[in-house]
Structure formats: C-alpha cells, structure tokens
Symmetry: C2
Subunit: 339 residues, 2 copies
C-alpha cells in the first residue's frame, strides 16, 4: 500500500476539537498501519491560543483567519467543530466551494442547512460527512447509509441526549426531584449552565431531523417536529411508571405507516423489557426496525470528546481512503440520497 499524507484543517478547538486531535494523536501509527495514510492536522482555527489543554499543539498551527484554511491548497479536509448554525454553516459551504471535503459534528448546522450543505458537496464533487452529529461515537449514520442500505425502514427510536437521559436515570434510580438532579448535573459538568437546548428537547429534534433524512429520505426541519422536553416530569410520574413496570425516557421517534411519516420528541413510557429501557445515564442508543434486518440497536456514548472524536476521525479516514485512491466522488458518499 502506498503511503500518502492527507492534510486537515480543524475549525474549533474546544472539547470536541481537542478530543478529535487526541483520537488521531494517540492512534496515529495504528491508523497509518491500517490505511497506509498519514493524517495530519496542519491548521487550527481558534482564537484562544493560550488556553490550557491536555494536548500539546505547536503554536504555529493556530490561526484566527478562516480563509487561511479555505485558501491553503495543501488542505484536503476541513473539520468543522465550532458548533451553532452560524458561522459554521457558511464556513462549511466556503470550504466545499474551495474544493475541500468537509466533516462535522454540528447537529444544529446540519439539521438547519441539510439540503444546502449536501448540494454544495455534490456541486463541488467533494465528500460531506456528519456521523458525529447524531449519537456521538455510535456509527449509526454510516450503518444506515451503508451496511443497512438493502432495508426499507419502518421505524426509528432514539435516546439521543446524554444530559436528559442522565437526569431521568438519576430521578428513577435515586428517587430524586428534577431540579435537584439538574443542579448536581450542572455542578458535575454533565449539564450546561443554560440547559434549555437539552432539557426542552431541541438538541434531540435536531438529531431526529438528520436521522429522518437518512432513514426515510424525507426532509423535516427540526422546528416542524412536535417536541416536548423533560422539565415537567415529576417524581410522581416516575413512580407511577415504575408501578406499571415502565421507565420514562426522552424518546425521539419516527415511523412510516401506509406511506405516512409521523414523528415526535417526547417523554415516553417504555416497558422494562424494551432494549431502550436499559440505556442509562449518559449513554445514547438508536433502535431501528428494517423490513429485512428486523430490530437492531446501537448503544454507546452519545457525547464526550474522545467518543465524538472517534466518529469524526471515522469520517476523516473514509474520506482519506477515497483521496488516497482517487476514487470517484459518489463511491463513498454516505447515503442520505432521496429514495
């Protein structure tokens, strides 16, 4: 196998950015042995150069100018880890218009601008992948658009937010009230100071919008998804559920019946025997039913620097293989084509 160097520009060097850098750094020789490719992060867009991080990055890799990444002819792949819809979406479009392949973990940007981002990839004959945007380290999007492609999907159910699943698990197992668990979660760093996007289900709606595109080939914007969070769940609700042998989970669901798609994000009663009922604390899981494969569940860490970095690097490696072999554009495009 011929060795080839694939160069990467990284946008954003917060937790996920550092996790991605680390996932590559600690497994570099293994990745090179398996792929014959040397992946190198050559530029990092980040204002805060002096912040203490647990990786050692040469100072000269940092830049504060996004165009330094787009204009660099050596950069093959841009990884976008800024978060938020803008300027992340514009940066990804610019990167693709500059002929760069793009990888992102940004569910808000992908859910908001799915069509524009995919169109830019097609127009520019570059690859656009976003495995890390749904369920963190769990390689569900790659499976749905690759190994499971021979299925017509009937239903997808997901526990897609670690913060809310942690809160509900603690309320269930420790008999605590919502406000008390949220406070502890915030102190421990499991929940953000402003937890709205998590506890109101907005984060999950973004992820479900992306899942629906891949599973059913239909485009439903996050704001079109009926969404209810977990803020109204009481100890009483949870005890009532337990008395019926059930757990309350924040479930994203989409189902196609008689050609009609229905979807929602809402607290849902699951019998103990349901595989999703056993998914505790910060774990995520996606449960899909296909007309050939039947029931399938993927379970793992839905967030965190290294698990998310694993998913980002998985996408980067797939693109790197295609670059190394000069494979044609569509060969490894990860699904999402309208059926």
């Amino acid at each position: 196998m011929q060795k080839k160097t694939v160069k990467i520009g990284l946008m954003g060097f917060g937790n996920i950015g550092v996790g991605t850098y680390k996932a590559l750094d600690m497994n570099r020789s293994l990745i090179e042995a398996k792929t014959g490719i040397d992946f190198e992060i050559v530029k990092i867009l980040e204002k805060d150069v002096d912040r203490k991080r647990d990786v050692d990055v040469p100072r000269e890799k940092f830049t504060q100018d996004p165009d330094a990444l787009f204009a660099d002819p050596d950069i093959d792949i841009v990884i976008e880890l800024l978060g938020g819809v803008q300027p992340a979406s514009d940066f990804m479009l610019k990167a693709m218009n500059s002929g760069k392949h793009v990888v992102t973990a940004n569910k808000a940007a992908v859910a908001a601008n799915y069509d524009a981002l995919r169109k830019a990839a097609e127009d520019n004959k570059v690859l656009f992948r976003y495995e890390a945007s749904v369920a963190g380290g769990i390689p569900i999007l790659t499976a749905l658009s690759g190994a499971l492609l021979s299925n017509e999907f009937l239903e997808v159910l997901g526990i897609l937010n670690g913060t809310t699943n942690y809160i509900l698990t603690q309320m269930t197992e420790e008999g605590l009230a919502y406000d008390d668990v949220l406070k502890t979660a915030q102190e421990k760093g499991f929940a953000e100071a402003d937890p709205t996007a998590d506890v109101e289900g907005i984060d999950v709606a973004n992820k479900l919008s992306i899942l629906i595109s891949l599973v059913f080939g239909e485009r439903v914007a996050p704001e079109e998804i009926p969404t209810e969070g977990i803020t109204k769940i009481t100890k009483d609700d949870i005890e009532k559920a337990a008395a019926e042998g059930k757990k309350i989970k924040l479930v994203a669901s989409a189902k196609k019946e008689a050609g009609k798609l229905s979807y929602s994000v809402r607290p849902t009663l699951l019998p103990y025997a349901h595989p999703l009922a056993g998914v505790g604390n910060e774990f995520n899981a996606v449960f899909v039913t296909g007309n050939a494969v039947d029931e399938l569940m993927f379970y793992g860490k839905g967030a965190g620097p290294l698990p998310t970095g694993s998913a980002v690097m998985g996408d980067v490696i797939e693109i790197g293989k295609a670059i190394a072999k000069n494979a044609a554009y569509d060969t490894i495009v990860a699904g999402g084509k309208k059926a």
Copy 2:
C-alpha cells in the same frame, strides 16, 4: 447518477439463500433509487429445483454446475451460501481466481481459510466481504473496519449464537432444565437435530476467530480458542447466579492487555446491569471497547433468513457501488488488514 446493472451468481438456495433473494426482491426499487444500480441474481447453484420456497424463481436460473457461475463473463459477484468449510472455500477461491467479487455468510469457511481467502482477493484485485458471517444482520464487521477505524480496541465480548442464548434465556426465565428447553427448541426449529456445533460453542469459536482478526489484527484459528459450551449448565447454576444478581450467558471474549491477547468462549456470569445481560432469546450482541469511542454495543438478530440476507445484500451493495464507479480495489475493502 448513471444506472448500471450488477449481475450476481448465488451458490446455495436454502433458508439464507432464499432470505437474500427475498431481501433483494422486496426492496429492489428502493435499492435502485438509493444507489442507481440494478442488482440482478442471474444464476443459482442448487440441486433441489423443485423444493417449495416462498419466492418465485424462474426455473432457468438454476444450475447444478458451479463452473457455470465462474465462467459466466456477465457475473460480477458470487454470493456463497452453501455453508460448511468445503466445497464452499474452494468455490470462493475459484470465483475470485475467475475475477469475481465474493460475498459470504459462511463463518466456518471464513474462520478456517481466512488468510487464503483474503490473499486470493488481493491477488485477483477483487473484493471479499463476509459481514453476515458474524452476528447475522448486525453490521459489526463493517463498523469495526470502517467507522471505528480510528480506535485501538481493548476488548470485544459477544453473544454470538441464537440457539444457545435462547436455551439459556428460557432456562433462566421459565426455570426449565437444559434437556427440556433443547427438546422444545428442536421442535420449534430453533435448534438443529444435531445441536453439537451450537451447544458446544464451536459455532461461536468460528465467529470469535473472525472477530479477533478484525478487532486485533491477529489470526487465531477456531480450534486454538479455549471453548466450553452450555451442556453442563444446570437449573441450579442458573438459580445460584440469579441469587447473586447475575445471568449466565455464553460469551465469546477477547482482550488485549500489555500487548498480550487472551480469548475464550465459555458460559459467563454477567451482572444484570451489564448491557449484554439484557440480550434475550435468539438475539445476538457484540460489545466492544475502543480507546477513543469507549463502550459500544450492537444488538440485533444474529440469524434468520431476512436479517442474514440484509447483511449479505449490504456487502453486495458496497461492492456494486465500487463496480459502478470503477473504484480502485482497496478503496472499500472491509478491513482485516494486519496492524
């Protein structure tokens, strides 16, 4: 996208052969819409032409001559679903030497002749895929050698045999004795008349041998794996386990510590809280730990015509995409390269 026809020769038309035919048949238009490729099974190697099956196959597709598949210049992919080490292995080698890509669900043949089969694929610049050989419909091999490639794996645990998991689940939940459950399982068609390969763990050792190749890049023959089946498990053992809050499962495990690989197939006590403990009846699951992604579990149907057919067709579609785009050989080779 340009439409292209990819032609398939199918060897073996038992349960899995029919399941694969059906998975393609029922989702043909969906697969074509998603890939731009028309997959067509043009020849079927099978002696029993008159057997009643629940699919309608034109009689002229059947042949009793394997060379009719190898020599047909129209056939791009040979699917081997004969089972057993021979003549399946020789047929796969012949197919590859005739320039055909090969897909198989045959764990015994892959585990016994892994190196020879992979070498034939490399020598002939064809693709060789075997997702269905481990854990049926669960796309674990594709994930290990694709989306999870940036991980160094620390451990893999699997419940990889539906028959034994069904027997242990029924013994646990219904308080029945081994012999009684086995008898019922045989009557229901969940266990074979001669259940040795399942209940003695031989089937699982084949699958673990394949998993070890992909997870740790090392080759361990099935007969080198210390293997203990479930025939000695008593009601008493199961009750004792339950009293400690544990379940007995037939677990395949492989672990790397300080550079040393250890492995076994044996009945194992799992605490109720372990994700594998909840895997009941005929379901399979694979639990892997990577140094970036952390804990990950894949759960689904480990056998059955349609789930296995889903995995076979997933491989066929990946190869079809490469054929359609004239992609270079290694681009989509599914892992297994020695690290």
